[in-house]
């Protein structure tokens, strides 16, 4: 579903990604771990078509995001660290708007159910988003992604700033996506949540995918040990 082949990306001579190769199949989750500047967000932006690779190729369900960005984006849902919503609109209105952009015409009742199933309390649905906490916004973000019915989900640091309960709820909802056959690519710093929801864990360092681990074969401590080893090498460099 999501494929990167031998991707190189530079910004003004600085290498952001080097020989990146990764594949995320439908129904699986790849969590990318890495320090700031490791290339996680650049990878997301390449899949979203916000930037183009200098060399190599990116594919979303067989489509090139740099050549056909709109078509590729229609197959994706994207949840950033801070879910971007319109503060003057309620959660329901935000969901309705993005749902319409996806070409759907769901009733308010259906949309409310999606919000509730994403973890929002029914009474919060009609409140302006300006009054929402970060966790509540993440739930609306998940609802938008779920309503879109996209084939792939991109998550850029979705857990940062969330309390443990909200993080746990979030990863729980994420598993629902996997069950629908959605391919999930998540960038995160949270090793334990990565272990909890990923099928594969990738470690990025200085623009390269230096480690690819089967999440079912390693425990969290092992992941942390490998991760820190790479980070120390990064510091040494």
């Amino acid at each position: 579903m999501l494929v990167a082949k031998a991707v190189r990306k530079t910004y003004g001579g600085i290498v952001a990604l080097e020989d990146l190769n990764l594949t995320v199949e439908s129904g699986s989750t790849l969590c990318l771990l890495g320090a700031n500047g490791a290339g996680k967000s650049t990878t997301m932006n390449l899949f979203l078509g916000f930037t183009s690779p200098d060399s190599g190729s990116i594919e979303v369900d067989g489509l090139s995001p740099s050549r056909t960005p709109e078509a590729a984006r229609r197959k994706l849902s994207y949840i950033p660290e801070n879910v971007s919503l319109y503060p003057a609109l309620s959660g329901l209105e935000n969901l309705r708007f993005f749902d319409q952009l996806s070409g759907h015409q769901r009733s308010d009742g259906e949309l409310t159910e999606i919000l509730v199933s994403s973890g929002l309390i029914r009474s919060q649905v009609l409140q302006p988003v300006a009054q929402y906490s970060k966790g509540m916004k993440q739930k609306v973000g998940l609802a938008i992604a779920f309503a879109k019915g996209a084939k792939a989900l991109l998550l850029d640091e979705p857990l940062s700033g969330l309390d443990p309960k909200a993080s746990s709820e979030f990863t729980g909802r994420l598993r629902q996506f996997q069950e629908t056959g959605c391919a999930v690519l998540m960038a995160t710093h949270d090793i334990f949540r990565a272990k909890e929801c990923a099928s594969t864990i990738g470690i990025m360092r200085a623009g390269q995918l230096v480690e690819l681990l089967d999440a079912s074969q390693v425990d969290a401590q092992e992941i942390e040990r490998i991760y820190l080893k790479h980070m120390r090498e990064d510091s040494a460099i």
């Binding site: 709109e70 609109l89 708007f97 952009l101």
Partner: protein, 473 residues
């Protein structure tokens, strides 16, 4: 998708307190300005009608009088008062509304409104036209400056892009929402401003076309300004920067450019001092004829013209009054001087106006101010038209009076008395504001400037919006 975006934009407008606050403020300002414009129009129209009536009554009922004495006493020409002056008074407050059609002398226009409105002086510019253009553009800038920059800061621009929204739908939605908003704003503002005028007795057809043209003009100008603000919003690095740049643009367009244009016009082409003009008229038109011998040729030419007209070789054989012939000879002599001196004055004013015209290329709001006054019939073109036609009328009636005295006043000279039948035969002064065709021709550059601004700003906004969405930032 486009419909969803438009719906979302309007929902945001509806919940934008700034829009409501400024909308209420605009409504209050416009109501006050419209009320003032309406009262002013009614007072002026009534004063004008009464002055015209009194002038005619006094003229016709002056009793037996010598025609030249009557020519000195003479009549006034009053400037036409278009109904749209209540909406846009243009230069009418600052230019004379009456013209004394006196014998021997071409007078400047007199009775400027500003001489009588000292109490309201600080608010003299608060016309409905000014409010729609200046306050309306301020409202547009305030509501739209963050239209894209805020989306970028909030991350919703990236979310929109990530949703698969096409650039075309995004651009149409972002530009379509202010288009609808401005259309509603202009229609509402024009209804408030012109509503009372529609109830008055006026020839509806030409005014309806002018109202329609005003509506289209204000719509196009505010739209081009809104596109400029959208362009800034899409290019600015932050909403703060977008606000500062939009505010600067508004200050330049709405406040600085009219001031700058005026200052530049009078700096390049300084005003002619009125006293110097009077002195020069005395020196060239009066003294040489009456005191010197410069008028001899004029007198001889006038004598030949009369001889030719009546088919005689000797003026005296006609038994006409020679004093009247000399008076008319002076008129002909002085008229050439007036044509020269007032011609220079008008050329100066036209040059000043040209500077403003070319300055208006830099500001669609300034261009719109000029066109608006032209459509309303309250611009310099209308003022010049009034002054020219009144002077032409002066010359015609003085000639009629001199001719009557010449034919009927033989051997009586200034003791000849004409009666009511002569006074009644003198036509009343009548004119109308320049036609729309003349207005369009005169303001061709300004109209072109408004169109070019609209197209260029639409293109720039289109490009910037498209790029913003494609990049997701």
């Amino acid at each position: 998708m486009m419909g969803a975006l438009l719906q979302k934009e309007f929902l945001e407008y509806r919940r934008d307190r700034r829009l409501w606050l400024l909308g209420v403020l605009l409504f209050l300002l416009l109501s006050a300005a419209s009320l003032d414009g309406w009262n002013r129009f009614q007072a002026d129209a009534s004063a004008r009608a009464s002055a015209v009536e009194v002038d005619r009554k006094v003229w016709v009922e002056q009793g037996d009088n010598n025609p030249h004495g009557a020519a000195h006493f003479s009549r006034y020409a009053f400037r036409p008062l278009p109904v749209l002056s209540a909406f846009d008074p243009g230069v009418f407050d600052f230019a004379g509304a009456a013209f004394w059609m006196e014998a021997h002398t071409q007078n400047p226009t007199s009775l400027r409104r500003v001489e009588d409105v000292v109490v309201h002086a600080p608010f003299s510019s608060l016309s409905p036209a000014w409010v729609v253009l200046v306050a309306g553009s301020l409202l547009v800038a305030t509501v739209l400056f963050s239209s894209v920059s805020r989306e970028r800061e909030n991350g919703t621009l990236k979310a929109l892009a990530a949703s698969g929204l096409s650039a075309r739908d995004f651009v149409v939605g972002k530009m379509g929402a202010p288009t609808v908003l401005i259309f509603l704003l202009v229609v509402l503002a024009m209804t408030i401003a012109l509503g009372p005028l529609l109830l008055t007795k006026f020839n509806p057809e030409p005014t309806a076309i002018r109202v329609l043209m005003l509506l289209v003009l204000y719509f196009c100008v505010l739209l081009s300004f809104s596109f400029a603000v959208l362009w800034i919003s899409a290019c600015a690095r932050s909403s703060g920067e977008a606000f500062n740049l939009s505010a600067l643009l508004w200050i330049f367009f709405a406040l600085a450019s009219p001031l700058l244009a005026g200052q530049l016009a009078t700096t390049i082409f300084p005003d002619i001092d009125e006293q110097s003009l009077r002195n020069e008229i005395q020196l060239k038109a009066q003294t040489p004829f009456w005191v010197g011998s410069a008028g001899d040729d004029a007198k001889a030419a006038q004598e030949r013209a009369v001889e030719e007209e009546f088919g005689v070789s000797d003026f005296d054989s006609l038994g006409f009054d020679r004093e009247a012939l000399v008076l008319q000879a002076h008129e002909e002599f002085a008229n050439k001087v007036y044509d020269e001196l007032y011609g220079e004055l008008q050329a100066r004013h036209r040059n000043q106006d040209s500077v403003q015209r070319y300055m208006s290329v830099l500001s669609p709001l300034l261009a719109a101010q000029r066109i608006s006054a032209g459509i309303a019939g309250t611009d310099l073109l209308a003022q010049w038209d009034f002054a020219d036609s009144a002077e032409q009328h002066r010359r015609e009636i003085i000639e009629l009076l001199n001719r009557d005295m010449m034919i009927h006043g033989a051997d009586k000279g200034f003791s000849y008395m004409a009666d009511r039948s002569l006074w009644e035969s003198i036509p009343d002064y009548q004119t109308s504001a320049p036609s729309l065709k003349e207005v369009v021709r005169y303001y061709f550059i300004e109209l072109s400037a408004v169109c070019v601004w609209l197209v260029v700003m639409a293109y720039l906004a289109f490009r910037a919006l498209k790029t913003s969405l494609v990049r997701g930032q």
